[in-house]
């Protein structure tokens, strides 16, 4: 893989920070990382900041580290081992991109379902649109593609501006710096408890650190996200710009960087403000018989589980799910509604807009903006990761498009399976990219002529460990629960419940029964499985460590011989 795109670009930098790479990171994250970060802050409080912090770390690393050399073999790979390294790197990048694209497609599918309620319409429509845009990026005129990306940027900026204005209008300019909404939440939590609208066990103090995770897991996830997102941005967007020669507009770099960093600074405040307003809406009382419009939309779209049930069709209402005479005085309690997929961000945004007094006159515009951002991000990643692009090839070829299409279709399968949440997909994509890139950079820094064979072996083992540990709890939850040793430390009641569910799955006569039992199994084991004390989303650090050790040891032995 050709490494030095920097020479092909006019550099506006004399000294200091490496802003071109920061721009690439900003382009590569589309909608998935922003939405995953906001969802994590809303649902997990302090512990959810790991994604925000990892993203900040990715910007920081991209600025500090400079050109990503020593990644893959050069285009003129001389030996079979170097060609193998090149192919391995391309395939690994395509895998990481497919995972991140799957996350983008999940965001797009949720947004489509919200403004076009219908069972799984988004899962079908989003990949078709992504392939169409990838085709446009592969074949169209470069200036056309630049306009497409600028449109996506404009949509993102519009969303951010609207969120910031509503937040500042409500809490004043200090809202962006001191996050007063976090302090307000303490009062609202007390109101919810006093009115018996929330079970104290379901309320977690928002600002208290390490309630859902510990310091080691938090730090591991942050480091992998920082390393991986920086690597993905630099390598994939560089691939897209080099091959498609389409996103030209390097003159837009500075505006893009500033937009991304301002959004990064504002994101926690926006998310916390939205969560505060969502909780305040519940504290004010939501009648089961007459829910606000945004909640009715979520019920119809099947993005919430209300009173333990999910609507089977768009005609089902909240009252149908919960039954008449539900709850204290017919009011919905905080724990009665569980937002699925990435719905917390959409629901909290709607609640915040309502609380700010703005009319939610066109919620479909909001959804449409996220769809656009996600799909353009997904398509750019697909073009950049197309494994069929040679170092001298151009994207405007059938091979380039087929490669991009294959990546999108793989991602569609991952997204359609619905097995992995968006935040877990983002973490896994970053972990794969980090495991792929960091050992090669280390070998390049530490050893003048690193052995390609050793590097291939190290990154293959590292990526295999990362993928296995990251996905085991999703694909084979009960086996992972046993093998990881988590079963021995779990209470007996949990093990008995799992045995019952296994029996139900075995005795199920319809796929629906099996799916319901399977979902319950995953819910039980998801928070309990750990590998050497690390949760699945943070296990990328194990794969990375294994790869780094192998590359160091292997290179030392090779040099000595």
């Amino acid at each position: 893989m050709s490494n030095d795109s920097g020479s092909a670009r006019p550099s506006g930098r004399r000294r200091g920070l490496n802003l071109e790479k920061t721009s690439d990171v900003t382009w590569s994250i589309g909608a998935a990382v922003w939405v995953a970060a906001a969802t994590a802050v809303i649902t997990q409080g302090f512990d959810g900041l790991a994604i925000t912090l990892g993203l900040a770390g990715a910007f920081l690393l991209a600025m500090l580290v400079g050109k990503a050399r020593h990644i893959g073999a050069d285009g003129d790979a001389a030996t079979a081992a170097e060609r193998l390294l090149d192919i391995t790197t391309r395939c690994g990048l395509a895998l990481a991109a497919a995972l991140l694209i799957a996350a983008e497609l999940q965001i797009a599918a949720t947004a489509i379902d919200l403004f076009m309620p219908g069972r799984s319409a988004g899962v079908i429509i989003a990949p078709i649109l992504a392939v169409a845009i990838a085709a446009a990026l592969s074949f169209a005129n470069p200036s056309t593609m630049r306009w497409l990306r600028l449109l996506s940027l404009a949509a993102l900026l519009t969303l951010v501006t609207a969120a910031v204005i509503s937040l500042v209008a409500r809490d004043g300019p200090a809202a962006l710096l001191s996050i007063p909404a976090a302090a307000d939440m303490t009062t609202i939590e007390a109101q919810l408890r006093d009115a018996r609208l929330a079970d104290p066990a379901t309320l977690r103090a928002h600002t208290v650190p390490f309630l859902r995770t510990d310091m080691v897991n938090f730090a591991s996830l942050t480091i992998m996200l920082a390393v991986g997102l920086a690597a993905l941005g630099v390598l994939l967007v560089r691939g897209a710009t080099t091959h498609a020669q389409s996103f030209g507009g390097r003159q837009n770099d500075k505006a893009i960087i500033l937009a991304g960093l301002v959004l990064l600074c504002a994101l926690p405040a926006i998310a916390v403000g939205a969560k505060r307003d969502l909780m305040a809406t519940f504290a004010a009382g939501i009648k089961v018989a007459s829910p606000p419009a945004w909640l009715a939309e979520h019920v119809a779209a099947g993005t919430v589980e209300a009173c333990g049930k999910i609507a089977g069709s768009s005609a089902v209402t909240l009252a149908d799910l919960c039954g008449k005479g539900f709850g204290p005085n017919g009011l919905l309690r905080w724990q009665d509604v569980v937002f699925l997929r990435d719905a917390p961000v959409f629901a909290a945004s709607s609640a915040a807009t309502s609380a700010a007094g703005a009319a939610v006159s066109a919620p479909w515009l909001f959804s449409l903006a996220w769809v656009l951002i996600a799909l353009v991000g997904a398509s750019v990643l697909a073009v950049g990761a197309s494994p069929l692009l040679g170092s001298t090839g151009v994207a405007r070829t059938a091979a380039g498009f087929i490669g991009a299409g294959a990546v999108v279709i793989t991602a569609s399968g991952i997204a359609a399976s619905g097995l992995v949440e968006t935040s877990a997909l983002v973490a896994l994509a970053a972990a794969v990219a980090g495991t792929l890139v960091a050992p090669q950079m280390l070998a390049g820094w530490a050893f003048r002529t690193p052995s390609a064979t050793v590097t291939v072996a190290a990154i293959t083992v590292g990526v295999a460990i990362t993928i296995s540990l990251g996905l085991a709890s999703k694909l084979a939850p009960i086996t992972a629960f046993d093998v990881s040793g988590s079963a021995t430390s779990a209470p007996q009641s949990v093990n008995r419940r799992l045995q019952t569910l296994q029996s139900q799955m075995a005795a199920a006569t319809t796929p629906a029964q099996r799916t319901v039992a399977g979902l319950q199994v995953r819910r039980i084991v998801d928070d309990r499985i750990t590998w050497v004390g690390l949760k699945p989303s943070a296990t990328g650090i194990l794969g990375l460590t294994a790869a780094l050790l192998m590359v160091c040891l292997g290179s030392v032995l090779t040099v000595r011989r």
Binding site: R14, F46, V65
Partner: protein, 80 residues
């Protein structure tokens, strides 16, 4: 490797540059991994009612990035 001015870079400068980048990367990773560990201590202080540790983790590093980028852009603009 060519330097930023286009002149070939002496090998000893290349080594120093690599070392600087490695140190910068390690410092960056140490910063983002280390700051949250201070949260329990910093949370004892409040800024407008919100625990300081939470505010630092939520905003601190992002603001540092923004300041660095803005400063670098400003310097770059005035050097050209």
């Amino acid at each position: 490797m060519a330097s930023s001015t286009g002149q070939p870079e002496p090998p000893q400068h290349l080594g120093r540059r690599r070392l600087r980048r490695a140190l910068a990367a390690i410092t960056g990773i140490g910063l983002i991994a280390g700051v949250p560990l201070l949260t329990p201590t910093l949370n004892a202080l409040k800024i407008m009612g919100t625990p300081l540790g939470y505010v630092v983790v939520a905003h601190g590093i992002a603001i540092v990035c923004l300041l660095w980028a803005a400063t670098s852009m400003w310097i770059s603009r005035h050097e050209q």
